[in-house]
Symmetry: C2
Subunit: 207 residues, 2 copies
């Protein structure tokens, strides 16, 4: 019984502040135990100001950054500045996975409509379903009659394509025109890494 109970125990919380810092750094994506160790040693040995700056920035962001009520991107206001911009064309709605993808589309300078940011993509294996990417909210928004075209600009990866397919099917039932970025964007690549000319061209050639 005792050994069975031992298996069920969670890993012990490190007893010292350095151990707890290394453990906390490991929660960053892509950071293993060696990297976390190096980061902790670096901050404590060479950049304690940077460590305090990071602590403050994390605290500030967690408490101040929320999701835009209209497009779901990160913002510190109820509605983000893009959604509030009266010069943008509310008849077009571009659906993208992340704020980084939105920034890539913005940099092309060839899109003047609004956005809906999924803040992820469908991924049944990770338990990320239609609700998690805000599909019900998107359908409700498109249902108000202002939006005339939805440009689905999810990534051209397997999961991005499935996401695009599910969104397109749901929106077509709602009777709105749905287009997809043209396949000028190389298959298998992620939008934020694609050169601006390719994205601009794909916007023009959307189908």
């Amino acid at each position: 019984m005792a050994s069975g109970a031992r298996h069920a125990e969670p890993p012990a919380r490190p007893a010292d502040a350095l151990g707890r810092l290394i453990e906390a750094l490991r929660r960053l994506p892509g950071v293993g135990v060696k990297s976390a160790q190096r980061m902790a040693y670096h901050l404590l040995q060479h950049d304690r100001d940077g460590a305090l700056q990071l602590a403050h920035a994390l605290d500030e962001a967690v408490h101040q950054v929320r999701h835009c009520e209209r497009c779901h991107t990160f913002t510190e206001q109820p509605v983000c500045t893009t959604c509030l911009d009266p010069l943008r064309d509310a008849r077009q709605l571009c659906v993208i996975e992340t704020p980084a993808d939105q920034a890539a589309v913005e940099r092309t300078g060839s899109y003047k409509g609004l956005y809906f940011v999924l803040m992820g993509k469908l991924s049944p294996l990770d338990g990320i379903g239609a609700h998690d990417i805000g599909l019900p909210v998107l359908l409700e928004r498109v249902g108000d009659g202002t939006v005339q075209e939805v440009i689905v600009a999810t990534n051209f990866t397997a999961e991005g394509e499935v996401t695009a397919h599910v969104i397109a099917q749901a929106l077509q039932k709602a009777g709105v025109r749905v287009t997809r970025l043209a396949r000028g964007v190389p298959i298998g690549s992620e939008l934020e890494y694609v050169d601006l000319g390719t994205i601009a061209h794909a916007l023009v050639d959307r189908r």
Copy 2:
């Protein structure tokens, strides 16, 4: 004059909390702007608890972690537990670059002496000199007559070898026996990545 002044300006502080978080994450070693962005999005979207835990761990470590008065490693006490351990042999002193290297030597189980942690290595190009690695403190400590042998276990890299050479010269003037880990440790490698058997063997074969 106005354009000259513009060149002198530091990069503008990001106006929003998300931008400031990305900027702060970039101060971590090995983290570029794309990684910082992904980390920030991940924390805000999926792990706000982790972000707060990291903020707290950073704050705690900066305020509580100091250097051991005897061996210079990180500790929350004036003197670390290794230095305070009465079962360790105070006649042997192993000089290593980092706490991670010390942990690697400890894991071999074949060393029972004390340590002196340089918390770095000589690197004139980066402005890291003898004072920064605590050489004067090391000389003073060895001068008290207790230490009979100093085992220099800096890494077998170019900078580690130079550091070992400078330390050995300084200590030999002080009349103490100086040994170096045997070259069983592969040239060009870093101690913390070396298998334990090799380190144990090199300890026995020290010269």
